[in-house]
Symmetry: D2
Subunit: 307 residues, 4 copies
Amino acid sequence: MINRDIANEWFLDEESCHRVIMHRTREQVVSVRTAHQHVKVVDTYNLGRVLILDNKIQSAETDEYIYHECLVHPAMMRHGSPTTVLVLGGGEGATLREVLKYRQVAQVTMVDIDEELVRLCDHYLEAWHRGAFKDPRVTLVFDDAAEFVTRHKDTYDVIIMDINDPVSGGPAAALYTKELFDVLKGLMHRGSVLATQAVEVFFDESDRHSVLHRTLSMSFGSVESYCEYVPSFGCMWGFLLCSDGPRASSMSEENIERAIGRLVSGALRFYDGEAHRRIFSLPKMVREMLARQTTISTAAAPMHVYG
Amino acid sequence: MINRDIANEWFLDEESCHRVIMHRTREQVVSVRTAHQHVKVVDTYNLGRVLILDNKIQSAETDEYIYHECLVHPAMMRHGSPTTVLVLGGGEGATLREVLKYRQVAQVTMVDIDEELVRLCDHYLEAWHRGAFKDPRVTLVFDDAAEFVTRHKDTYDVIIMDINDPVSGGPAAALYTKELFDVLKGLMHRGSVLATQAVEVFFDESDRHSVLHRTLSMSFGSVESYCEYVPSFGCMWGFLLCSDGPRASSMSEENIERAIGRLVSGALRFYDGEAHRRIFSLPKMVREMLARQTTISTAAAPMHVYG
Amino acid sequence: MINRDIANEWFLDEESCHRVIMHRTREQVVSVRTAHQHVKVVDTYNLGRVLILDNKIQSAETDEYIYHECLVHPAMMRHGSPTTVLVLGGGEGATLREVLKYRQVAQVTMVDIDEELVRLCDHYLEAWHRGAFKDPRVTLVFDDAAEFVTRHKDTYDVIIMDINDPVSGGPAAALYTKELFDVLKGLMHRGSVLATQAVEVFFDESDRHSVLHRTLSMSFGSVESYCEYVPSFGCMWGFLLCSDGPRASSMSEENIERAIGRLVSGALRFYDGEAHRRIFSLPKMVREMLARQTTISTAAAPMHVYG
Amino acid sequence: MINRDIANEWFLDEESCHRVIMHRTREQVVSVRTAHQHVKVVDTYNLGRVLILDNKIQSAETDEYIYHECLVHPAMMRHGSPTTVLVLGGGEGATLREVLKYRQVAQVTMVDIDEELVRLCDHYLEAWHRGAFKDPRVTLVFDDAAEFVTRHKDTYDVIIMDINDPVSGGPAAALYTKELFDVLKGLMHRGSVLATQAVEVFFDESDRHSVLHRTLSMSFGSVESYCEYVPSFGCMWGFLLCSDGPRASSMSEENIERAIGRLVSGALRFYDGEAHRRIFSLPKMVREMLARQTTISTAAAPMHVYG
């Protein structure tokens, strides 16, 4: 029987042509077509508030901390004493929020193409940004990430790419390419670290994460895949950590714990020494997939994901 | 591939445990829990604006005229010169709109339990009511229909029931019973006509329309079923016309056309002489179902529909 | 909660990009890719057994009689004493079944492109054909309908087109065109009648039924639209009756009843005099749509429906 | 547009009242109601062949190895030289398959309540069992697991519970309780190890995995949670490893690798030293949830999951 107390409206998250996750939505909070994308904020029963861009879930109130802590902390830990950080994308402000937990961070530049999106997140996603946009250490730039990094010559201790998945015809289609990564490398000095979200990790030949891994391996001495299950994404989510220095996976739990105590103010929910060990330890078939991938993503033949 | 220009949010209209109609929704217009029900107005791609009460589609911009013209005009035609009309329910104002097209109508009383619903419809469903709520001939009463008709002693030329389906536990559960119909009969004089929406017409033993038909036949000399397909309801919708006078189905097309010319100002989209003939002519198996139904709906054992 | 006694598998009938009807399926009966199409037979809870061709419901056990009686009887009645009948398509055998109820029918030729489909229907859809394929009056031809009618020169009293909807790229894409209809006319003598299924009847500019109406009007003196709601199709289904003789809609109920008594052996479930009157009486907006449609379907620009 | 080459039938995996995963099914392979449950085997596009029991996915061809290697190998490794193994449930035969890779294993008793299920798996799921049912070391017992373990007094080196989730009213409802776990402990000697699948790992108060953890902690000196994402389950899946000896999580990667070399014949796809480290390293919020859970599952108040 129909439950009259529960809405019968559903957001369909089309993971692929053959798998669709239906999320029951309680209420629509806002729906706006900005100059760059369609922004929806909805309240759901199972994921709390959810940000949806162009029909894809970007992050959800109940588990965004998993994604954002994974994206930010390994890079910051690997660097050891970051003071300047560049965030590309990251409209929700949660990446900023995590970066600003580092006491030594003096200057964060965040570049997002969509000013209206950031204004909407500032208004509707307080649980995400926690006021980060107003932190005096933050410089907000509304610009195309590719153009910004091409034009600017500053270097940063840590660069974090928190950009939409590259879908064919979408705004991020050209950003996950060797050419763009090489430009990013130009903004890094000795000791700098780059972290990027790196799409779903599959376990078979349709895996795109390994293409990004392989692509970044052309430019960096150390490229490490790590991953965690993010419920609202409905899959194992991949990340990549790149530098020309030591590997993050070689840091001991104890060192991570000590560094957190020294560097971070404010609580972490997902990440600590044991979680670090977890996410950098990969299943055997994932490592095998990384090893046998030979495709790289270039401007001429950029890698795309379904969407 | 996902179409980034089309929303991937769907309203699921659960017709039964085994059949669900998915309507893609473009935008939510408003969502309010009133004292009586959950009111949603959404904009869809295939049905235009849609009013949803407690997860059931009430009417849709693109085809509400089919339902409302079917509900109102046969009764008005059968009466021939209605001046006083009682509308029970009808929150959208479209039943009023159709009634007010009759030049001779001097007084319409509309009784709806949900004042907030009517205010929302007044604001968001202009395409339905076309200003009907402000017509000087209209008296709006916010009251429980069963209580109103029990308390009042006026009589009316035409009574129109435009009330939610009776779902178990819902606000209309007790309204579609012999006891309530007998009360309504007390508000009718010689020549009065009663029309009611009368749920989906099935063709098998699960048919509930025939129960209403049978129930009303206990109280009225003439009870006529008629039906039309309403796309937004996803089924053949039933209506019942009751009186102690002649049958509407015996009116000729020509008489209907003449009466429309004489009585109605403003255009009709669905209804005319040929449409009248259509809706009162029933498929053989529907007439057989009406003939073999023996169940009646009473206060002690009220008829319910899925929902 | 999940009901462990009811399957959670659903057939999604995609009516359009914006409306999908979900039917819960109990069991798959058979699934075969023939040389021409994908044939599935499934048992459902709400529609009984269902035949699905290339992901579209063709007919359902619980209501196929509505469709097949509508398709066959008006044409047979209009003719008055049919002895030779040509059926194009009609793989389920239910069109045959209805035709064979006419005592005077001496010879029925049925042309279906898909022999394997007919064999499957013969085996799995006994409730449809009732042994019709074995009737000595029937000649089964497995051939492309367009080629058959182009090659043959016989004439028939009644021709019935029971062919898949024309979807872009589908096997029936070229059959619903002026050119093909003109070929069919060549197989008709004075007094012959042609009936065809004629896709969903919409009420707005997306209506394709009216295109078929208009197209046939180029070739026949009398073209009549009629329609009925078919639950398993989830919409108002259209048919067209064409001849150069009198109109079926002018036949009185009494004449229909008399003719049924005289011509038909075996019971009808949907069709009789009153049902005839019903289906040939159209809502006003449908007649208006027919009147204003100017597009015709030609081999160069054939009409398509969604699918 | 509808893709005529892809079936439009979907299995709906209802994870909760608010989240449903739709899997497109290519073909139904078999559907049987056994004495204990409804067994379906379907072929899908994204998961290969899938076994569905009472509307819940049990395992999928493309990723069953993740689940089964996680379930079996940590327990076998922790024991170090298992020769006798008891498998409760495990109808697909894949748990057997993994157990039989250990050269020292001399005797495996598998107890499944549903003989017909095992026969179906033997026939249709060769990719799972790889002939394991016919291995001379295997004794198949068709019995209720609770009754079997209560009646028998043998002890085993390793006990593996591969039993359906406890859903209210389902066959496994009473198996995940303190009372049953205590009976299992009676079948263990010094050095024995128990592993069980342990439902989805949530990160909030709805978490049921932690109830199992807490319950087992009443009976065993060492209880370790571990988890991995299993795509076909659409969630992070939990397992529990119990003994009165040392903790598996303290085994080094090198020791695991050495033990695999020594004990295992045949390839592993998911599990190795690094994977072992991964699955036993838990996110911070999961450890916090385990620490604060106080509910235990008893025969009087057994823990249930949605279903």
